[in-house]
Symmetry: C2
Subunit: 454 residues, 2 copies
């Protein structure tokens, strides 16, 4: 049995980045992956969804100008070609990742790994079980689509995000169960490719994790695009009936569509890893409990979705980097993420980093907010996409959070995250030279606007 300085379970963004950093720093490293390198993000999540959204972006761009009667015409997507392009791109990226791992001397072990005993992982490979010794174990096994009793993918007309991304034909109508970011990104792509959208959520608003004002803007834009929004309603079941997906509400009403997407959150891949015997504990839906140093047990760290802190690829990567630096002795303090940006792509987009007003108030802070509407920005006008705003949350005279919704607001992400991290005052913003004209000036306008108590 070979003993490694680091064995990583899971080759998604967290696990892959950890393996690369560790091996580059000279640690003897093995990466165990049961499925495909790149994890959910590359194969079944962020990247394929963005390929869909990028390919179809001009559809909404044209629609926006057409509403002002400045343009007319039509765009036809070739869905089969798009799927083929997506699959090829994803496969090529996986190949490049494997080459990089090999170049750095990382042993890539294909199979499901579990801890057999302290210091030892057993992997079920195609050639039978193999044992890997570890000095440190990093668990980065990610998450998978969640479901509810009666609301579960059946591989026919009821699909999860993985199933919809793999489908051979885009249905003419799509029932989306779940108005979070995953449901909203996939619904937007489907809508641009011609699908009629019926979106259902038990919460009374879209993007229920976001600022309520963001939800309002999203709802108004999607309604204008012709989406059928059914919010604050309870679903009894979703099932395939013949060639249709049929959803039954608790009251008994039924609606149907060519397919249904179940996007009701995600569940951690934490079971069956043998971590209990090492002393690891779990919280919520089974997330691995970690301490301030991301340790789940002695010599065992957990990062990314399976740790449940932030189900975002870049959060996983950032945590992974911390763990490797800690192993290398370059990091001694607790893990600090700072503000973590999150983005919804599409048209509109949503960006958020730092605290929302409600969160800051719940922490007992005296909170002010300031905002600017995109309609006052010339670039929003140029794109005929003026719905939305930028909202700043202030605590003790410093920016503590920024939320934005509207076409193109993802471009604020890095800059806004940095100014939150640096706790800018209004004067800092005033002194910064914003290029003109830019959508970014809507952030400046929000930072300079009169503050009101939240």
């Amino acid at each position: 049995m070979t003993t490694y300085d680091l064995v990583v379970l899971g080759g998604g963004p967290g696990g892959y980045d950890a393996a690369v950093e560790a091996a580059a720093a000279g640690l003897k490293t093995a990466l165990v992956e049961a499925n495909e390198l790149g994890g959910t993000c590359l194969n079944r999540g962020c990247i394929p969804t963005k390929l869909w959204l990028g390919a179809t972006e001009a559809v909404d761009g044209l629609a926006a100008q057409a509403r002002l009667r400045l343009a007319s015409g039509e765009i036809r997507m070739d869905f089969a070609a798009l799927q083929s392009r997506k699959d090829k791109y994803v496969a090529a990226t996986r190949k490049a990742m494997a080459q990089r791992l090999a170049g750095l001397g990382v042993d890539l072990v294909a199979g499901l790994g579990r801890v057999a005993a302290p210091g030892s992982v057993e992997v079920q490979t195609a050639d039978g079980p193999t044992a890997l010794g570890y000095r440190h174990l990093l668990v980065a096994t990610g998450s998978r689509p969640g479901s509810f009793p009666g609301v579960a993918p059946d591989g026919k007309r009821v699909l999860d995000s993985t199933g919809l991304l793999a489908c051979a034909e885009m249905p003419k109508s799509l029932l989306v169960v779940g108005g979070g970011f995953i449901g909203l990104e996939m619904a937007q792509a489907a809508h641009r490719m011609g699908a009629k959208i019926i979106l259902v959520d038990a919460l009374p608003r879209l993007a229920g994790a976001e600022d309520p004002e963001v939800s309002k803007t999203l709802e108004s834009v999607f309604k204008r695009q012709g989406w059928d929004l059914r919010l604050g309603v309870k679903v009894a079941s979703v099932a395939t009936r013949g060639e249709r997906a049929v959803l039954e509400f608790e009251g008994g009403e039924e609606i149907s569509a060519g397919a249904a997407l179940v996007a009701v959150g995600r569940r951690p891949n934490s079971a069956g890893l043998g971590l209990e015997a090492l002393g690891a504990t779990f919280n919520g839906a089974g997330y691995i409990q970690t301490d301030a140093r991301l340790l789940a047990a002695p010599d065992v760290s957990a990062v990314g979705d399976v740790g449940g802190r932030m189900l975002l690829a870049h959060a996983a990567s950032h945590q992974a980097r911390y763990v490797v630096r800690r192993l290398l002795g370059e990091e001694h303090g607790p893990y600090e993420s700072g503000p973590v940006p999150s983005i919804l792509y599409g048209s509109p987009e949503v960006f958020r980093a730092g605290l929302m007003a409600g969160e800051a108030k719940a922490l007992g802070q005296t909170v002010f907010v300031s905002r600017a509407q995109l309609i006052a920005n010339p670039m929003a006008q140029a794109h005929a996409a003026t719905a939305g705003f930028v909202k700043c949350v202030w605590s003790e005279g410093k920016v503590a959070g920024i939320t934005a919704v509207g076409a193109g607001v993802s471009r604020l992400a890095c800059f806004a995250t940095l100014i939150i991290r640096q706790g800018w005052t209004r004067e800092d913003a005033e002194n910064f030279l914003f290029p003109h004209p830019t959508l970014d000036e809507s952030l400046k306008a929000a930072l300079m606007a009169d503050k009101e108590a939240a």
Copy 2:
């Protein structure tokens, strides 16, 4: 004669912002404008060009996906509707500016102003001359399109940027004389609206003020779009002949098109202002010479294009803010712009801030560069727009400049400008949590890439 704390000559970005800031701070302020509020930027420059580019953006978006055979279709622009929309938007913005000035108590004086004597400006208004006394004078009279003997707009088929933006019909072919940012933005908009582009420049490369690698990318993208590029050639004349604009090269060859755009730089509006008598001097093409505090003469400051430091709206605004703060006693040191971002919009875009490698070397610094190609970025892939790169210039281990070219790179502007201003090291970049997937990660990749001597 009323005496003002501040009289501003020119209501463009610099003059308008100065008047607003001064009046808001309680200074008695007059703004003298011979033409329209908003200056070149709003009426004849940045804003109308961006309305053209924004309205037509989907044309290039569709073309990019069509090259991958993922989409097909066509987009027809209604040019008359676009012109009407542009004129209405610009007029509404002017009206809002006038209202804001009125609300702040700024006296807006319509007419051409000139210094009659120290402390006094005479304005030729529609009702005859009127005199305004000033304690301080701010000259922000801007610039106008330049021309050469034989290469000058004639109001018929040979137009400057003002003339092209005002035209009633987009010509089927457009001769663009000048491959700088103005020529390139207008040529891109015209191309998207169906005009065949023939672009001529005496310099051997496009965007001659930019990094030579940027020029190469631009040339390759525009050639692929079917532009006829004639670089490093000398123009003898451009003239209207019948219904055509005819360009004659020095060698005698002639080419013609439906119209010609002369975009060969800009000239300062500094003549006839009576500044000589106050002791002001001029440099270059007539730019007002200012000292480190932006003073052109005792009690006279100059900002924006007419001062020639940076012919960019946001540079004018930043200088204006400094002058007002200096008048208010809030600023005592010399004017410091920090890195000033510049942006070319279109597809591709160009962004630059801080030093280019050549500039840093000319300052005697030991310079390294690092770069990342956009083709490695998933968002560039999603937009099927993979030509381009991000390039970082390093001096003494810190980021001293960033240049980028490619679709969407303007989104890097604020963040990149800030990290140059803060002199980030490679480790600073490593620690920053870039959201994934974003085009911004191409900046991260460039910051992390191996450095090579420039």
